[in-house]
Subunit: 315 residues, 2 copies
């Protein structure tokens, strides 16, 4: 049984992301004409997490492709929280930095609540990740707000793919501030009947199987198995889990699978929270990679443009 | 079939509210000793809604009984939004107003988004209703915040009555900013598996009947009938609906019921969103009146004390 036997329709996040980029391109051009400069994203990267390096590089590359600027500030692993807050304050005060992105995770040495303090410090109007409490509150209240990128990208994907949200039963597994909770709110605003599940949920497979739309944002490879999925359901896989155990990859994807071949070339593969066999039950499914990931970056760019436009409207 | 045949345990909101008041009494005394003055709640009442008059009077009376002060400012029905914002600004700037309450509804003439503008203007540290976006966001993020009074009172009631929240399936019917959404968040933070339902939910009775804890916050008299309720479930009735049709009261509560007798004395009765026959199915049930209502006022007083203490800690 390999993933190649899938029957679920593949929800193409890369194509949806490309459409989002094409939608914002004329907005970037119009902003640039009016303002005499391109929208600019200020990025703070502290420490030397290899994943963070890749994420930041991708974000900067995507920005540049659309004619947006980015301004990367680096801090060493040993930097203090105050150093990060100083850079945020500078971005806040700047007339030409429209959005601010602080790449997670911050170095451990900054303290356990460093991210919260830094996100709180970001001016809500420049908070392109939507993590500031004022933006979280506005999102809950269904008011215009910079919304977290991954959940808003997922809504965009579902719309593009013609998945009916209104009236659907949606189940979100995971209750993070970055994905689970804002995802639940956005689905609710679109008139889904929303259930939020988590590690303390009893009979998680049974609850998940009530879903017409199932969003998995847990961070555990292949956790969502066939029994979690109502036949025909739309399954959105937010997980990005690196596997570096060949036996695990073979057990999950099969001896002749493309994932195993990729593993043998690269020594690791990335897989989602959804077990490959779900493709035989679900009606539609996002791949990993190529599903939610590209959408997240596209929505970050969209949020940066929105922030720039919002600041211009106030100027 | 009358409500007198109920088998559900009655969840006594009045008793729970009395306990909350006794818990905050020593905190008020300690604050008053330290500050040389009592905690004070600034109240803005605009227009002449008869219900609002009663609510405000009850809140002031309850404050006074605990040794707290309140400062009522009135505006006429014809007042402008700017007048309301001016009073809020004065309360915000005051060194002796610890909490600010703006009674809803504001007069229609202030515009359709007047309440939002006024709630946004309230300093988050004095926002005892918990309606400011910054407080909403902090609540979602599970951080210390002034939380909306009705949902936090309900959590207190469930705890007092020994209702297990962790692991329970909770269904909230209604998605208002004041009750439904914060209720869902508070239940989630206590590790319930939470579903939010609303007017667009398909098979609402069926979804509701999955609940171990069912919270009805719809605003429609007797809407939640027996078929909505799993036998033994805990049902919390947030509705406060005035009935002034004798035939409807008789149909709902029966010819010999106390509600009908009350109607015949007073010309109207208040009833909840939950049909009286639910008392024969539910394991536990809040009455209306005497359930959630008293809790809301008690939590308002608790929030005012918390706000006063928070400001004192910063002074």
């Amino acid at each position: 049984m390999t993933v190649e036997q899938a029957t679920a329709r593949r929800l193409d996040g890369s194509a949806a992301a490309a459409e989002i980029r094409e939608r914002i391109r004329p907005r970037i051009e119009a902003f640039t004409r009016r303002a005499g400069r391109a929208p600019k994203l200020g990025i703070l990267l502290a420490g030397s997490d290899p994943g963070s390096e890749i994420y930041v590089r991708n974000k900067m590359k995507s920005s540049a492709e659309l004619g947006m600027e980015s301004d990367l500030r680096r801090l060493p692993e040993t930097a203090a929280l105050g150093d990060a807050l100083e850079i945020v304050a500078e971005f806040n005060a700047s007339a030409t930095h429209d959005g601010i992105l602080v790449q997670s995770p911050l170095p451990d040495g900054m303290g356990s609540d460093a991210e919260q303090q830094v996100f709180d410090a970001i001016a809500p109007g420049k908070d392109v990740d939507g993590f500031n409490p004022a933006n979280v509150g506005r999102l809950v209240q269904k008011r215009p707000a910079l919304a977290p990128c991954t959940p808003s990208g997922i809504i965009d994907l579902l719309d593009r793919e013609g998945v009916e949200i209104s009236g659907a039963r949606a189940v979100v597994i995971g209750r993070s501030d970055i994905v689970g909770k804002p995802m639940a709110m956005l689905l609710l605003h679109r008139n889904a009947t929303v259930t939020i599940c988590h590690s303390r949920t009893r009979d998680l497979p049974g609850v998940a199987a009530e879903a017409d739309i199932l969003v998995a944002a847990i961070g555990r490879a292949a956790f969502v198995t066939r029994e979690f999925v109502k036949p025909g359901a739309t399954v959105v896989d937010v997980g990005m889990n690196r596997l570096d155990d060949r036996a695990q990859v073979e057990a999950l994807f099969g001896a002749g699978s493309r994932k195993l071949a990729a593993f043998d070339r690269r020594g690791s593969v990335v897989t989602g929270d959804v077990h490959p066999a779900v493709a035989q039950v679900a009606g539609a499914l996002t791949p990993v990679p190529g599903g939610v990931g590209p959408l997240t970056i596209a929505m970050l760019l969209a949020n940066t443009v929105s922030a720039a436009e919002g600041r211009q409207a106030l100027a």
